[in-house]
């Protein structure tokens, strides 16, 4: 049995909120640098140049990468041999409160109807998984509203299959055009139930851009669909170009014999996430 204090959880979450909003992950940074070289149009090149400059400026000054520092989304993987001393959910929310407060990040959480801001960016959206072992892993994502608003869940008919997936995803990206700050990253969850597909889609956005799906069939599907998305030609900021998306990741799970749940979670180029193990 491993003991972890609530304070240690709060501190880890606080630090991730601040650092993820300041430092773009290396894989995203590399994709943005490569994007500039890979475009022909001066406008597309200029967008990538500004994004690179923005990444360097944020790292150097501590300004957040984007003013929309997101709703806090956390994936907690709790080993069943871990004993957390204190209230785990409250410890995580306290970390968000401290991170967004002390880090001078924007508080973007509000009541859906009154639109009154909660003032401290809580409550965070927290997903828990219980696994064997003695480790507590916490992954944090700062999820901006512009890209999240372009996301959808669709219950396809099983007969629609992969062709149905391609059509739905391409149509979604085409309709979103410049709204979600392209070049985007596309997380796709297929299977499970209505809500499980959405969780898988968000988890897919936690994968590294340069990883390869261990399932060869899914790896081929990811490559095929990313290629098709980029043929749309929407380009950086919707101004035209080769890079509409920097990555497309699929996660799957078995589903009901009657169903084919499909979730498309759109992420912007400012893909801010980090993970710690306690």
């Amino acid at each position: 049995m491993k003991r972890i204090s609530a304070q240690a959880v709060t501190k880890a979450v606080r630090d991730m909120c601040i650092s993820a909003n300041r430092y773009q992950p290396e894989d995203v940074k590399a994709a943005i640098k490569a994007g500039e070289a890979g475009e022909d149009s001066p406008t597309a090149k200029e967008v990538f140049r500004q994004l690179s400059e923005n990444i360097d400026l944020a790292a150097g000054t501590g300004l957040p990468l984007c003013q929309d520092t997101g709703l806090a989304v956390l994936f907690v993987t709790l080993g069943q041999e871990v004993y957390v001393e204190g209230n785990l959910s409250e410890a995580i929310n306290e970390g968000v409160r401290q991170g967004y407060g002390e880090g001078l990040l924007r508080k973007s959480a509000c009541d859906p109807f009154s639109r009154k801001n909660t003032g401290d960016n809580t409550p965070a959206v927290i997903h828990y998984d219980i696994v064997p072992g003695e480790a507590l892993r916490i992954a944090f994502m700062a999820k901006g509203g512009g890209a999240e608003n372009m996301s959808r869940v669709m219950m396809l008919a099983p007969a629609e299959g992969w062709e149905g997936v391609k059509k739905f995803v391409l149509t979604r990206v085409a309709e979103s055009r410049s709204n979600p700050c392209p070049p985007i990253i596309i997380g796709i969850g297929i299977g499970g139930t209505f809500e499980h597909s959405a969780k898988l889609a968000k988890l897919a956005l936690m994968r590294k851009l340069d990883d390869v799906n261990p399932e060869p069939d899914l790896a081929a599907k990811e490559e095929e669909l990313l290629g098709l998305v980029n043929r749309l030609g929407i380009g950086p900021m919707g101004l035209g170009g080769r890079h509409t998306a920097l990555g497309l990741k699929i996660l799957t799970s078995p589903c009901h014999i009657a169903s084919f749940p499909l979730a498309v979670n759109i992420q912007c180029h400012s893909s801010r996430h980090e993970e710690v193990e306690l």
Partner: protein, 184 residues
């Protein structure tokens, strides 16, 4: 495609000469307003009340900045997605607003109002909030402070880099997705 240095508030003449694809380095006074502030301004207009800003020639920046760090006038301050303000924009253009700054597509009613009132829609680079904040030299909350990031602010900007997306003669810079190439 031309590059202009312009002053805000924008004159009618300046706004009308802009064409989609032009680059504008904008200096002067710009107001920030996003979802909640737009709703509030609209309610004030419905009530016939005075507005806390001068609309003639005004440039409205759709942004909810992050809090300022010590020694800075503002935090990161890039554009938010504009379509959420589409239902308010035509009324504001009819009252003298000459431009909005945001990111993402506008609906037909907004594009028509740009033609009707000689106004433009500027795009700034979404997700470059740290970089764009360096063009903001002064910032002051002038109304709705209770809205936090959504408060109405008066900014003084210097050479804010903008692209004309929609102009006053029906021009549009965003590309149409190539559905056929993607097999749709």
């Amino acid at each position: 495609m031309a590059v202009y240095e312009m002053k805000a508030p924008l004159s009618d003449e300046d706004a009308r000469k802009l064409r989609s694809g032009d680059v504008v380095l904008l200096s002067g006074v710009v107001y920030t307003a996003r979802d909640a502030a737009h709703k509030k301004l609209n309610d004030l207009l419905d009530q016939g009340a005075d507005l806390p800003l001068e609309l003639t020639g005004a440039v409205i920046y759709y942004v909810g900045p992050s809090p300022a760090r010590p020694g800075y006038v503002i935090g990161s301050a890039g554009p938010t997605t504009s379509y959420r303000m589409d239902s308010f924009a035509p009324r504001l253009h009819s009252l003298g607003v000459k431009a909005s700054i945001g990111k993402g597509i506008r609906n037909e009613a907004v594009k028509q109002s740009l033609k009707d009132y000689g106004a433009v829609y500027f795009g700034a680079t979404g997700g470059a909030g740290a970089l764009l904040s360096t063009c903001i030299k002064e910032a002051e909350v002038i109304a709705f402070p209770e809205m936090g990031p959504e408060a109405l602010r008066k900014l003084r900007v210097e050479k804010l880099p903008l692209l004309v997306i929609n102009d006053s003669v029906g021009g549009e810079l965003y590309v149409q997705p190539d559905l056929r190439a993607a097999g749709l």
